[in-house]
């Protein structure tokens, strides 16, 4: 009894001491594409909380996972870090971030899939503020040239295949897929096809690899066939999302999956293109699907000033501030009504959001996707056929799932 009391006092003293030592200083790492907007919001926050000083540290996406991990592991982390949704679970399972259940209010206002990412052990470890899914961006002019109606884009897989075939002529590739660069690009673009076909990479209980089951194999074949049948560019194996956008701008790719962040640069770099957006086609009798991506805030366990960190995160999570900070869509439904999200070109992207799903939470998820991605590349390289390659991937994934 006495001992417990003593421990409580000691803890309180330590907290007090550290609180005093670092009172009022919060370091926030945010990516460079957020910089301008983040500065405005920080100014607002500091006005409302005059005794808290926010130090903004701008990060770049190149090597960001490594940097964040190094900082988290070293015990010298900042107070708040912007990370991609999918990274959070690894941090939570390695005991590197604080639970934020006490910060997040209005759970119901958030898109559920976004919260799925941040949940582990039925606790919440990050607060999502930005979400997005892909749709298909296409060149209306190319549709016309191929004798297609640009206002009636394909809706099913068969229609997409037929459209890609009609669009592919001369320098033009009908439908660009990714097969290179950072593997997340390809997961983002191919996994939804598996989902909409009723398959998955691993079973819901995380015990069984499913990539070599018929539903997944058919979807992977559908995806990789665009390359095999020369409807995707020859450079597919080195293309990531950015490369596809470049090819689209250079008018050598007529359609490709991407998020709304591509629209502005396409308009800027090649204003001649008449941009269309369509939902991602699905098997004839099934619904479409998409992978939900985006960014969240986490508070490192070793943050020196968790109190003010939570204050800042709480402020940033308010609907209005989320809406101002996000580069795509906010994670809260109520923020979606802000005027900046009502641009008509965003309509289809918005329509896709409800179909957005979170990837499974598994401590070896990155290695699992790596095994799957290697399998995709083996198909694209022509090393193996789809079934054989996915059998191999399933074997690799099963070994990862079987690790204690």
């Amino acid at each position: 009894m006495k001992l417990k009391k003593l421990a409580v006092i000691a803890t309180a003293m330590t907290m007090l001491a550290s609180g005093v030592a670092f009172a009022g200083d919060v370091t926030w790492w945010t990516p460079n594409f957020n910089e301008a907007r983040a500065r405005e919001i920080v100014a607002k926050f500091e006005n409302a909380n005059p005794n808290v000083k926010v130090k903004l540290e701008i990060t770049t996406s190149d090597g960001l996972p490594q940097r964040v991990l190094t900082a988290l592991q070293s015990g010298a982390a900042p107070e708040v870090i912007d990370v991609q949704h999918a990274w959070i679970n690894g941090y939570a399972q390695n005991d590197l971030v604080l639970s934020v259940d006490d910060v997040l209010k209005d759970r119901d206002d958030y898109i559920p899939a976004a919260l799925d990412y941040a949940t582990w052990n039925s606790k919440l470890w990050g607060i999502p503020y930005r979400i997005e899914t892909h749709a298909i961006i296409y060149n209306k002019g190319a549709f016309k040239d191929a004798g297609l109606d640009p206002n009636k884009p394909p809706q099913t897989w068969d229609e997409l295949v037929a459209t890609a075939k009609a669009l592919s002529k001369g320098k033009m590739s009908g439908f660009g897929i990714t097969g290179g660069g950072e593997m997340g690009n390809t997961i983002f673009r191919s996994l939804p096809f598996i989902w909409m076909n009723g398959g998955d990479m691993i079973s819901a209980d995380g015990k069984k690899a499913l990539v070599n089951q018929p539903a997944a194999v058919a979807a992977v074949k559908f995806y990789t066939d665009f390359f095999k049948n020369k409807q995707a560019p020859a450079s597919t194996l080195e293309n990531d999302g950015t490369a596809l956008r470049r090819l689209f701008i250079a008018e050598t790719v007529a359609a490709y999956q991407s998020g709304q962040f591509d629209i502005a640069s396409i308009k800027k770099e090649n204003p001649k293109i008449d941009i269309g957006v369509m939902q991602i086609p699905h098997p004839a009798d099934k619904k479409t699907a998409a992978l939900l991506g985006g960014w969240s805030f986490v508070i490192p366990k070793s943050a020196k000033n968790p109190t003010d960190a939570k204050k800042l995160v709480g402020f940033l999570a308010e609907a209005e501030n989320q809406g101002a900070l996000t580069d795509t869509f906010p994670a809260r439904k109520s923020a979606m009504s802000l005027p900046r999200f009502s641009d008509p070109i965003l309509t289809v992207f918005k329509e896709m959001l409800p179909y957005g799903r979170a990837v499974p939470n598994n401590k070896n998820w990155i290695q699992i996707t790596q095994a799957y991605f290697d399998g995709i590349q083996r198909i694209l390289l022509g090393d193996e056929d789809v079934q054989k390659s996915m059998d191999g991937a399933a074997k690799d994934i099963q070994a990862l799932l079987d690790q204690k």
């Binding site: 399972q93 005991d95 290179g180 080195e238 390289l381």
Partner: protein, 286 residues
């Protein structure tokens, strides 16, 4: 005179610094390799998990292929360039400086520029080669399973052969003139000079430089990581990148540590064999 302690005094500062910043990481890595994420002792589980992965043996052979292939060409081209740069010709000074450029330029710059040049659609290399009729249609240099490793080796050779060249050039310049004079009296021609004077005289330099290249090669991440990240389908995955991926992409520091320990052991054996092989021959590193 007490040479014993004097020598130690000279050596000590460097040793202390190294011990502090190297010995600790080594010990920590060893510890990580036999524990799990929560720090509990798990014996050799991490080692067996790593060895069971399909990528591990592949990465090991890729590493040997990449390092070995790079070194052979680096040494051959570097030595040839050194002999060339040791000739008398106008503008030699400038050519020497230019030759150093690839080595001086940051690895990340070299990697991005070459990746840009080898690009399938926008790359200048495909354009030049199709234009000249060398190849009928653009090749996906970095995505074709059979070209990607040779291309990366070529980039790595380009980056480091200048280093071999300057080191060998320095060696060539320290060859005493009387050796050439003696050869000339015997009527030796240029190629005889190369094989009977230059190469034997710079042998120790080449041997030393090769060891450096082995060590650097076994630790080179930047070029491959910036260009292919080990892809496609692990064709260019080398062990250092596998370690990097395990640690920083998969957050599996314990398996990464286990792989590091094994890799370190293998690298050490290779270096020891190399040094031993040298020590047994005359003309050892001076």
């Amino acid at each position: 005179m007490d040479r014993n302690s004097t020598g130690l005094v000279f050596v000590l500062p460097a040793l202390i610094v190294l011990a502090m910043l190297v010995a600790y990481p080594v010990a920590y890595t060893g510890l990580l390799s036999v524990t799990d994420r929560q720090g509990a002792f798990v014996g050799l589980d991490n080692f067996s998990a790593v060895l069971g992965a399909r990528a591990t043996p592949q990465a090991f052979w890729n590493t040997l292929w990449f390092v070995g292939g790079s070194i052979v060409f680096q040494v051959v081209f570097g030595t040839a360039a050194a002999i060339l740069l040791n000739q008398n010709f106008i503008g030699r000074g400038i050519v020497r400086s230019i030759t150093l450029l690839p080595w001086v330029v940051p690895g990340i710059v070299a990697a991005t520029t070459w990746a840009w040049m080898f690009h399938t659609e926008f790359g200048i290399i495909n354009y030049m080669m199709t234009g000249a009729g060398v190849i009928p249609e653009p090749i996906g240099w970095l995505t074709n399973g059979s070209t990607v490793m040779p291309v990366l080796i070529a980039i790595n050779v380009w980056k480091l052969f200048p280093f071999v060249a300057i080191m060998v050039l320095a060696g060539l310049q320290s060859i005493p003139n009387d050796l050439y004079e003696a050869a000339r009296v015997d009527g030796a021609n240029f190629w005889q000079e190369v094989f009977h004077i230059m190469l034997p005289q710079v042998r120790s330099v080449i041997v030393a430089v090769t060891l450096l290249l082995v060590i650097w090669g076994l630790n080179s991440i930047t070029i491959i990581y910036a260009i292919t990240r080990g892809g496609p389908a692990n064709r260019t995955l080398i062990t250092p990148i596998q370690i990097f991926r395990l640690a920083f992409e998969s957050t599996n520091f314990n398996q990464a540590a286990a792989l590091s320990v094994m890799f370190f052991a293998v690298a050490l054996v290779i270096v020891i064999i190399y040094i031993k092989a040298l020590a047994s021959t005359p003309g050892e590193v001076k």
